[in-house]
């Protein structure tokens, strides 16, 4: 698809003049209007557009909040209350930003699951996939630092606990972990100094994400979109132009997702949060049961499942970093799980595992919860390190359709009617 030529024809003199100097309209037309899109993509392929939308929403609402927010230990909590109570539509913009972070993650988890199910990481899309993992990591860092900004009890203790993860390095090189943590904090404990630097980075990182998203879309448009059959595009009848087909589908899916989003923004703004974060940070008292935001719960469960500090941290980070190697861990010749009768079961077991880890991460780290967290943590790694390579080799795939067009239109005879 890299050789796809834009059908852009400048009409006015101004656009001709510009086209000869900076063919930006030609590029946009080629990439987002007449770009060939597999005609069989389902609604799961609308999550990319959704994520772009949420990135934009987070940046716009974030800049607006920055106009009213004050990043100091004395003022942060009060300024958020000022936004909620006094600023015109401040409550709305703050709710959009806070709930938006959750919906951003909800969309990204669906996006990742879709990629795993349809084998969108397999050749030639490895770089595309790795860029996605990088975006995911940047999102997590951004969300974590953003969560510190309201400077409530959960904010404060989340920063304390997560930055303390680095102190586990002490058990490899004594003293180094402590030094790193003090460097992160700018002191001997989490303080206003820490808040101030997190604010600066929280403002910066989204723009880094924009850059990597640009690369992600570039890589996507070089190799073209995957599709539910996992087949390559072989002829023009396999595709439809992006506009109006895929665009219209994206916009409709967006409206439905935004409807759900609005429901939370207006009626359940605190549902995804924690009551303790409405208590101002108190460095002298930890809430009885601290939990991260829901989107970090599976990793939190993995961290707590391992009884050793350093190993827990390593397991948690490797649970995400392992995703980078999925293109090579999966040995199957068939992309789409649709045609993989055995792996299909393992895939849903993996989804169930992540959900179960999320549930367990929300529970106190004691008794039966820890036992189950260990079981599911074990499967998480077994799935990626053992199931993916072995099932790919052993399994016999179901017969694939001959082309994308055939999968949609039934037989090759029923070619699409072009008018």
């Amino acid at each position: 698809m890299a050789s796809h030529e834009s059908t852009y024809r400048p009409t006015s003199n101004i656009s001709k003049w510009l086209d000869a100097r900076l063919p930006v309209q030609r590029m946009m037309h080629g990439q987002f209007v007449d770009f060939p899109t597999p005609r069989n993509i389902n609604y799961l392929w609308t999550t990319g557009g959704l994520l772009t939308f949420f990135l934009a929403v987070q940046i716009v609402t974030g800049i607006v909040l920055a106009m009213h927010y004050m990043p100091s230990a004395a003022d942060a909590f009060n300024s958020v209350e000022h936004i909620r109570r006094n600023v015109n539509y401040g409550w709305l913009i703050r709710n959009i930003h806070a709930v938006g972070a959750s919906f951003f993650f909800l969309a990204v988890y669906i996006h990742i699951a879709r990629g795993l199910y349809y084998g969108s990481y397999k050749a030639p899309r490895e770089v595309l996939w790795i860029l996605g993992v990088v975006i995911f990591l940047l999102m997590m860092a951004t969300a974590f630092m953003g969560y510190s900004l309201p400077w409530g009890q959960m904010s404060f203790w989340a920063v304390t606990v997560i930055t303390n993860l680095f102190s586990s390095i002490d058990s490899i090189i004594p003293g180094l972990g402590t030094r790193i943590v003090q460097w992160l904090w700018g002191g001997y404990a989490v303080s206003g100094t820490t808040l101030n630097r997190f604010y600066a980075l929280h403002y910066l990182l989204p723009f880094v994400i924009v850059g990597v998203v640009g690369l992600h879309i570039w890589a996507l448009h070089v190799v073209g979109q995957n599709n539910p059959t996992g087949l390559d595009i072989k002829s023009p009848s396999d595709t439809v132009p992006m506009a109006p087909y895929a665009v219209m589908k994206d916009v409709f899916a967006l409206s439905v997702f935004v409807l759900l989003f609005a429901w939370f923004v207006f009626y359940l703004p605190d549902y995804l949060g924690h009551p303790d974060n409405y208590i101002e940070a108190n460095p002298l008292s930890t809430p009885p049961h601290i939990v991260p935001e829901w989107y970090f719960l599976p990793y939190y469960a993995i961290l707590r499942a391992i009884p050793d500090k350093l190993m827990g941290v390593i397991a948690m980070f490797s649970s995400i970093l392992l995703l980078i190697f999925v293109p090579w861990l999966d040995t199957s010749r068939v992309r789409s799980t649709k045609y993989r009768p055995v792996y299909k079961w393992f895939f849903w077991l993996f989804v169930f595992t992540v959900v179960a880890l999320g549930y367990l991460g929300s529970k106190p780290a004691e008794g039966v919860y820890v036992q189950w967290a260990r079981v599911f943590t074990a499967y998480y790694f077994i799935h990626l390190l053992v199931v993916l390579p072995i099932v790919g080799v052993m399994e016999t795939a179901k017969p694939l359709p001959r082309s994308i067009a055939e999968s949609v239109l039934g037989s090759p005879a029923a070619a699409p009617k072009h008018r």
Binding site: W91, F252, V258, H274, E293, W348, G361
Partner: protein, 290 residues
Amino acid sequence: MTTPNRAKIGAASLLLASALAAGSAAWAAGGEPVHIDRQKWSFSGYLGKFDEAQLQRGFKVYVETCARCHGLKRIAFRNLVQPGGPSFPEAAVKSLAGTYKVDAEPNDQGKILKRPAILVDYLPSPYKNEQEARAALNGALPPDLSLIAKARGIESHAPFYLVPKNMLVDIATGYQEGGPDYIYAYLTGFKEPPAGTKVPDGMNYNRAFASPHMTAMPNPFAGGDGFVKYDDATPATVDNYARDVTAFLAWTADPRLEERKRLGLLVTIYLLITAVLLYLAKRRIWAKAH
């Protein structure tokens, strides 16, 4: 045909799962489970509105009982006048403000004298700082109540297989009143301790408080029915005191609630229509491709 369905189920289960994890996270806490009943509130649900008269009574209860120890520092006198709250008449709040004394600007000698409060002033707290409060109250610190209705919640003790169902119901009904439910249960939870429970000096038994049910706060309504006089016909009972002051605190924690729910309804209706129109338009366009 089955596989796209599976994909849809997959997406749905992911969504459900994340919601599930979130909800259970929100109310998790240690200790023995305390069951807290949900109450009916005029401000719950997607058509919820505060009851002005109730907030006015609640403010009276706050002033005459809670305010001795608890501040309300995020509420200015002007807030008591604004729409979507108790909406007292401006003149009444002005004269009420005049009865409170706040720090004036330093005078020509650099002394900070007291002056009567005006509308833009915030409600003065009973203690200057944490240390003064603790010194006066045997080491206990009464929290500021401005945000208390958001800073408390109730735990769900449902077994894990019921969690998804409960969450879907809460999401569909827009349930956000865990804080008020808890506060009401707490205010009415001062009971005789069960036989065999020793209550240490300076502590009080409260069945709604987290295990072991001991709280430093004494029963604020120990005076019984009638000790706060209501200006309207509402029966002056302890139950009503608890209900009214809880509603008032729900407002202090979320003074924009009415504006939020009103706009939310418009936005939801608009998005529903838009989604239907976009679906029809999408089908129209894709009709050419299939």
